[in-house]
Assembly symmetry: C2
Homo-oligomer: 482 residues x 2
């Protein structure tokens, strides 16, 4: 039977939108998997897909809250042990949860009132937003009763940081001439969301040889060009630590960006989801460097990265400082964003729960503290060691240079030698076909014309790297010299 084919004119912005992290190369990897070939998914910062273990504390609390009967059972087990006259090793060996963890789960159930199964407030439960505010205050040294203290009403708990970014960008783009400055290279969530909202992407270039740091002169030049083209620039996106570059911004650079934004009445969108991934360097949040300067700031954080790596649970938050207002109607942005969020009812409750646990970890001296700290250190040390192994491999590859400090979960080496007419896309596709290693071509993130790069997430277990890196080196030196 011939099937009628229905065609419809659709939203051109969605057709035009690109998202390389899940683009042609990972799609080819998925095909190879179907054919039974093993691939190594380094195209995306998805640690648990490469064997990173979840933090025990998070999962214990989450499991108990999903099924509170478990709390009752554990309390009963502990009572049996207490009442037992002889030392009952058999029972003792069955114990799985500390009292602290049981209490934490009960605290969530009490404070939420409804557990995980009910819609919450669209901005997330107040007690979770309060925990986030305390976390920010502590991280940035703000007094909880001082003028810089985070305001829970200006915080939104969202499905990952992606949803936060969408709320802001969709709100800011009022017409096709509205522009948002984004770094090049950038994380394609930003270019895709600007494209979908029908706005103008205004590029500013990061300086590779200076370790992917930006400077004010480049920002001014980018803004000037955009204005000349008739673009009304509203905000600047900064990703720190960088994605895909891994660069960690020094305090001075952040301050320079804030001054630039203040001078041009721009809002700042600070993607700070990799704030724990600094490997010994100091992380300066935009809020901390901002202090009392009156620049509107949106900062994003997430449970997907850091040492938590809970990508699948889709939890994140957005904090707004120096709340802007809509022109004319004069409505504060947090009220508008609350309405945006309300159309989806609320973010998922387990993601919210993990944001709560991320921002209120076990206190020093509490029962789970030692294991929590050990696991945290182990993950972060391991990530750094793996990054170092990969960087060392670059030294054995013909004309590969990798600039900047190690941050986030990515390395973004420059491929200075490629066969004639070959692009970094071709390189990555051939690398995948030859070795199973799945990366993303630099052009998927944007790069200075004439340069070629790739992004690799430094997540595979060390044993895997030990096999994979020699294969990559061999592939590389053969491919670029063919």
């Amino acid at each position: 039977m011939a099937v009628a084919k229905h065609t419809y004119i659709v939203n051109q912005n969605i057709l035009d939108m690109e998202y390389a992290v899940r683009g042609p190369i990972p799609q080819r990897a998925a095909e190879l998997n179907k054919e039974g070939r093993t691939t190594i998914p380094c195209n995306i910062g998805n640690p648990q897909a490469l064997g990173q273990k979840p933090i025990t504390f998070y999962r214990q609390v989450a499991g108990l809250i999903e099924n509170p009967a478990e709390i009752t059972r554990e309390r009963r087990l502990k009572q049996l042990i207490d009442r037992s006259e002889q030392d009952d090793e058999q029972l003792k060996n069955l114990v799985l949860y500390s009292d602290y963890v049981l209490d934490r789960a009960e605290t969530y159930l009490r404070l939420s009132g409804t557990g995980l199964g009910a819609y919450t407030a669209s901005n997330g439960p107040l007690f979770i937003r309060e925990a986030i505010a305390r976390f920010i205050n502590e991280r940035d040294g703000f007094k909880s009763d001082g003028p810089l203290a985070a305001n829970p009403d200006h915080i939104f708990v969202t499905n990952g940081a992606s949803e936060s970014a969408k709320y802001i960008i969709e709100l800011l783009i009022a017409n096709p001439h509205d522009g948002i400055m984004i770094p090049i290279p950038q994380y394609p969530l930003y270019s895709a969301t600007i494209k979908k909202a029908g706005g103008t992407q205004v590029n500013y270039f990061l300086n590779e040889e200076q370790g992917w740091i930006l400077n004010r002169a480049d920002l001014e030049e980018s803004l000037e060009l955009a204005k000349k083209a008739g673009t009304r620039v509203k905000a600047i996106v900064v990703i720190n630590p960088g994605n895909p570059t891994g660069a960690i911004l020094p305090k001075e650079t952040i301050s320079e960006i804030i001054e630039f934004a203040q001078d041009h009445q721009l809002m700042i969108i600070a993607d700070e989801v990799y704030q724990e991934n600094v490997y010994g360097a100091e992380f300066f949040s935009f809020a901390r460097v901002l202090q009392d300067r009156p620049v509107p700031l949106f900062s994003l954080h997430s449970i997907s990265k850091g040492f938590y790596g809970e990508c699948g649970h889709r939890g994140g938050y957005l904090e707004i400082r120096n709340i802007p207002f809509s022109d004319g109607s004069n409505i504060p942005f947090h009220e508008i964003i609350l309405k945006q969020a309300s159309v989806s009812l609320c973010s998922n409750t387990v993601g919210q729960l993990l944001v709560w646990l991320m921002t209120s970890p076990p206190e020093p001296g509490s029962e789970p503290y030692e294991l929590y700290t050990t696991e945290k250190t182990l993950v972060l040390n391991d990530l750094y060691e793996k990054a170092t192994m990969i960087r060392q491999a670059f030294e054995q590859m013909d004309s590969v240079r990798c600039f900047g400090r190690t941050g986030a979960m990515y390395l973004f080496p420059r491929l200075d030698k490629l066969p004639a007419k070959s692009t970094d896309f071709d390189y990555c596709m051939n690398l995948l076909e030859s070795t199973g290693l799945t990366t993303v071509n630099g052009s998927g993130f944007g790069q200075k014309p004439g340069t070629s790069h790739l992004r690799i997430a430094f997540l595979p277990p060390k044993a895997m790297l030990e096999t994979m890196l020699p294969e990559w080196i061999e592939f590389h030196n053969r491919y670029v010299n063919k």
Copy 2:
């Protein structure tokens, strides 16, 4: 210190968007709660916020997968019991999970490969989409190898059904003249999403006195009017069972809608999230009535409603039949929607898991089957009894009439008598202030000019209704006669 006030021109569509279910009346209720007053949240279909218990099977499996150490511990406990020479009642009383549930959790871990902590494919894991396909085939009587069998590649697992609706509507609106037909009254997700996407909302009226059923003549009239106004109508939204009306569409009406869509080359968006909430009536899905007619169909389902009520977990799915293509570029819609989904990486994994459990419940004869069935029946019977109690209360209210069969989770009575210059919004606000009962005014959903309604979710426990309903009756007869 005077704080500089920053104003920016923002997206007018977002400013104009309305969402009554979380609008001024629930916002006032939240204020009352802050002042310490108790309110009853019947403004929203959020069963677990009003004491509905989660289905044990779902939560047991979810808890075990969050913390797989629990599976190991339970197996160990069972081994101890098996090995024990005397009958160890103490140990036996500790057992919490059936082998079936432990196996189910292990099956998820094995099939997912990465547990709950990793991003999945953007359309959801294949094994979950396969389970959904089997569920649809079984529900609608399609042979799994026949031409009508659901195709897992045309299914998307999403954060609730809201996200599914957004993907479709955002894709379909290519310019401000693009229109989507929606019922009046309707669930405001649709009006809000069309508004936000910058398209045209094309109303068709449901016939209240015929039990909120629609008929072809009304559809034709609505379409004709829209065309005259220069609107390019692309799709028709049907909510069955209805929200806010609770109406359950008969097979003949569904068939009529399909013929209408076919004759005018419209796509159908079938919101079928209340498919379990039919209370003895038969549910006909659009897919089942469609059979092999070549009309593009998007159907939505969710874990939030039915007897599951897992709103907070944000799980749902979208199935597409008769895949349409983009005009010109000729890309099938499921590929475009996959790109849309990929920008958010994936839906939350616990929501996905619950979609899997919803579509592959315990088999008859399996250990959890009896409890699962008992809980399911209990919830559905209880909902129906509560709806009946409320309907009976309407009979004691001056000039209140409630049409149609009982379906979904809502009653949408007509208020034929209101004080002069008073609207249904005023009524609902006064009802809230007087009794704490939180409902939504009919104008929040749209209604025939000159009529007034409210929507109440029939969720409060019966004991609560016994106190609440006399208060409401007393309020009503006083308010409308003042």
